[in-house]
Amino acid sequence: MANLEKYSYDVVIVGAGGAGLRAAVEARDAGLSVAIVCKSLFGKAHTVMAEGGAAASMGNVNDNDNWMVHFRDTMRGGKFLNHFRMAELHAKEAPDRIWELEMWGALFDRTSEGKISQRNFGGHEYPRLAHVGDRTGLELIRTMQQRIVALQQKDKRETGDAEKNLKVFAEVTITDILKENGKIAGAYGYRRETGEEILFEAPAVVIATGGVGKTFKITSNSWEGTGDGHALALKAGANLVDMEFLQFHPTGMVWPLSVKGILVTESVRGEGGILTNSLGERFMFKYIPDVFKDKYADNEAEADRWYIDQDNNRRPPELLPRDEVARAINTEVKAGRGTEHGGVFLDVSKRLSAEVIKKRLPSMWHQFYELAGVDITKEAMEVGPTCHYVMGGVEVEPDTAAAVGVDGLFAAGEVAGGMHGSNRLGGNSLTDLLVFGRRAGMGAVEYVKSHGKNPVSAATLEKAATRIAAPFTRTGGENAYSLHQELQEVTHNLVGIIRTGAELTQAIEKIADIRKRSANISVTGDRKFNPGFHLAFDLDNMLLVAESTAKSALLREESRGGHTRDDFPGMNSTWRQVNHISSFDRDKVIVKAQPLPVLPKELFDLFDVHELEKYMTPEEISKGGSN
């Protein structure tokens, strides 16, 4: 702690993905001093990997679209477990957030009228995803990054110092959110390059740390997805909501082994790619659930016509929500109809010309050609489910993104829960980042206005510093890499895409055991850019996330969205009224049931009652929404 670096800001933003950067812009625009902290270099956050697009009902391609249609799709996709207010705000504000990006220099693909083009995606009734080829996330993050630079240039013109009121602390890991007198006081961490410690004092902290994919063995996520924000929030006294819901994206690469899990964007199906098993059957027709029967074609002829005439045909079942497609693939493979490497075939080469494929799906072409030696303009891809997105996350107040239970703490983006219910629709994350990133920024601004500085005490500091030094004081202890692998085996085998009570019970024991052993991790080498040391802290977070997920999953005795119980197949309307709230008692994660907020009448009335009957109990239907 000798060389402790110290800073003081109005707000510290942990995370430089889409959500963190949007929050930063909002807070700086309102005059606050802002620190952005991230584990990687600036511009490399996981958001950069998003491919397909950002969902917003601009109605540029089909003018029947509007926020109400988008809201309905989002609730359906989430099987009505979404926090209605988040889904409502998201649907209403998404178009403005996209148009705003354009004002900041983003260049989306265009329609022939010169508007922002929109593409089809699973679960979205109309073409709704603004996109740039298949590199939409890169456009989003680069635009936000360049907006930050623009604000810094403005500060430089006005104050002579670009970084005085808005500074990016890249390659810094936050290990503790600090509180004093029950309120947020700042954040503590270390510089990855040097291992030296760093303190941020601030009355408001926004957590925007993204997802948890690295808890699993097969994932589309980058190494940053270690659930840090989920764990930091838990430890700071906040709650996580519905951590049992994880999205397994149906199409990850399965071969070669070294690329297993890497994402194959849903746009491949949106552009007409079809799924077949080893017998050559287009199997998705067998897997259309009752609740979707009137929206999805049950025969090939109609499915194929849809690509030409969307008003008079139902959609192909390849475009069902992700949980449905992932489960279908899983079932096909388990039934012995999988490919040589345990996947199914995804083929776009028969519908589009090579030239069009290379233009619309350039990075997919590149990815398969370079990494698997497969030319997708000529051959089918082999694909299978991969852990992609966590629906669960920090419980927040929808309008302000304030974390429930901790004054001064905010959360936005993938780390926040509620918005997507039990299953997220593709494209809804990128606009979620922007809508709630902005709201978190606004929430922090309001909070800081009425709350002054809250200095960090020596005792709090000491505790945070001791934790960082600990792994170096031990020798011959556990190896972080092996423990991480062990955890990934447990989650993959026992908390994966299909779950059972017995396996989840086993998982909870095993995770507890790994957590106990992880207290004895020792690292080799010194503090300077030492990945073993870094992993020790990431692992601690993943263990808490896994515990929360396994415990929530054990309690939920039904199957819904990103949570499938072999011993409790099928949705249950009574369970729909329940959120699972995780908290941390300093020793273990505790999960409690909490009633889901009731859909207000004006939103209830947006649906056909017969549709709601599929999800809600007769009592709920007869009430017709709250008040």
Binding site: F42, V48, E102, Q146, W223, S258
Partner: protein, 253 residues
């Protein structure tokens, strides 16, 4: 395990570091980044390397493999002969922090020196109308993943620390070109400033940058050369601004 691989990996910083020999197993289909991770997990727990996506999308895993600037996650082990020793070193143009990790802050400083996009006054969100053909030129440059391999390979700065002050490098020439060709941007004199403030004149069109770009951006042909050709003073008035944008489009056809 399909084969045993001989590697020489740079350990340490640029003052005291050196190459270290390692033998490691490699599986079918693996890329160099996989191998580095195996070395890290089994033999050198503290081996420093940057990476994020492992899919060629983030531009973090830049290094030099047998002296060539490359993304480690997109470099197949199988592309090297069985008996060849693969040498892995950090980017040469930037100071080494540790092992394969370099200090690339130079690039972020240069980014700060380029004036941001400036929208026409009075334009409101949702109003812009642009044709695909008009956005495509800038879109090519916006594919950049900021791997900085082009910066690393460019001889103007690779072994000439003294040039760094006045030379932004190919990554930032395409950034200037992108803004210059951006259908909405109204800032004048982008080309001129590329020449006068960012060192475009020091580039002698060797095309090395284009060759290493993993995004296959035609840095020299589509950004550098067109800018060199027309470094003229474009005074801003709305009509001429429109004219210049249309000319940009003609240039493309």
């Amino acid at each position: 395990m399909a084969r045993t691989l001989k590697l020489r990996i740079w350990r340490g910083d640029d003052k005291t570091g050196g190459l270290q020999d390692v033998t490691v197993e490699a599986n079918h289909g693996e890329v160099v980044l996989d191998i580095i991770h195996r070395v890290q997990a089994t033999q050198m727990g503290d081996l420093a390397v940057r990476w994020n996506c492992k899919a060629g999308k983030c531009g973090s895993c830049s290094m030099e493999i047998n002296g060539k600037p490359r993304l480690a996650c997109m470099t197949q082990v199988a592309s090297y002969p069985e008996d060849e020793t693969i040498t892995i070193t950090p980017l040469r143009a930037f100071p080494v922090i540790k092992d394969l990790v370099t200090d690339v802050s130079f690039n972020y400083k240069k980014a700060m020196e380029i004036p941001s996009v400036e929208m026409p006054p009075g334009m409101k969100p949702g109003e812009p109308r642009m044709q695909q053909i008009d956005v495509e030129r800038s879109q090519e440059f916006r594919k950049c993943i900021e791997c900085f391999l082009c910066q690393d390979t460019c001889h103007v700065i690779r072994d000439h620390e003294e040039n760094k002050k006045s030379f932004a490098g190919p990554r930032f020439f395409i950034r200037i070109a992108e803004l210059d060709m951006h259908p909405l941007d109204i800032l004048r004199n982008r080309k001129k400033s590329a020449q006068e403030e960012h060192g475009l004149g020091m580039c002698n069109i060797t095309k090395c940058c284009t060759e290493v770009c993993p995004e296959h951006i035609r840095i020299t042909d589509n950004a550098i050369i067109p800018m060199k050709e027309r470094v003229v003073d474009e005074k801003y008035d709305p009509l001429r601004w429109l004219g210049s944008k249309i000319r940009k489009r003609e240039g493309m056809l």
